[in-house]
Symmetry: C2
Subunit: 189 residues, 2 copies
């Protein structure tokens, strides 16, 4: 009979072990080594994304933090979201493109450009169309990103003159898909 107890306790051990690449309902380590957090490109060329602490993966409700690395020449789509977003640039440099402060009602229009650099910080208010690009051809751009109201829902623009009404909704985000399918969560809207 002893081996049955062994199987039982082994199963218990595995079920209780935190899964670094799992979703909130599967459990997770209280303190996580960032180099062991699952990172991926999620089909986005030039991107490496890791959710350090998030809604679908760790059960947070109000804030989420990402660790993103963007290869030279790559960047985010031109996009907007209703949540607020704060960037801290850890390495590299690039350009923040942000819709003009007096935007056209139909489309974002020619963006304002701001250089971003290692040890800099900036934020994007809710609803503002923006893009972050690694415009430094020699070095990766590495950022920590904090967002409110996770999980994020994004509206993506083909270019700065795409009408707001033609922006394409993406939800859940690429990196949220796995946990969203596994443990569906109420949409933010």
């Amino acid at each position: 009979m002893d081996y049955q107890w062994l199987i039982f306790f082994t199963a218990l051990l595995f079920s209780a072990t935190a899964d670094a690449s799992g979703c909130a309902n599967d459990g997770f380590d209280v303190v996580r080594n960032i180099s062991e957090v699952e990172q991926g490109s999620f089909g986005r060329a030039g991107l490496s994304h890791a959710t350090l602490a998030g809604a679908l993966m760790h059960g947070l409700k109000e804030v989420e933090v990402w660790f993103n690395t963007v290869a030279p020449g790559s960047g985010t789509p031109i996009h907007r979201h209703s949540c607020e977003e704060i960037f801290v640039v850890l390495k590299g440099s690039g350009t923040l493109y942000i819709a003009p402060s007096n935007p056209d009602l139909d489309h974002p229009g020619t963006p304002q450009e701001y250089p971003i650099f290692a040890n800099s910080t900036f934020h994007v208010a809710g609803g503002i169309v923006h893009q972050v690009r690694n415009t430094n051809e020699h070095e990766d751009l590495q950022c920590l990103v904090a967002i409110s109201k996770p999980p994020m829902k994004v509206f993506m623009y083909k270019d700065w003159f795409t009408p707001h009404t033609a922006a394409k909704m993406v939800f859940p985000m690429f990196w949220d898909e796995k946990c969203y399918q596994k443990h569906p969560k109420k949409d933010e809207l």
Copy 2:
């Protein structure tokens, strides 16, 4: 008459210049060099705090990011807050103390202890009593901290057996005082 115009334009120039150490209504640079962001101990021995992007300083409503450095032997008070908090440890090491998951109803009780280290991340759910200490006597502990629902209101405990009803409320936070006095903002509660 020319010097009057000079005075006028000089005044205009100064009023339009972003103030790195200012409050939201005074304006701020879109992209800020973290080494130029105002840092201070705010009367807390062993602490250096900078608000990289925040409610009272930059007009954010839903999320705030801090850059905190804690000297060996120092740490946060034992405290709780209704907002969620995510830490990313950039340098050094220390200990996260967190109230037991089955807490006493009267007081937090003996905390669980978790080692924290450079390149680690952890979060604290709303309402959970916790403390972060630099228990490494050789090195500063440097963290980025993201919080939801700024500006933060804290309840501080003298020790882990202080009754919840005796926890001392602090609002605004030490680093929020200047802007709170200058541009009063509606309390979160």
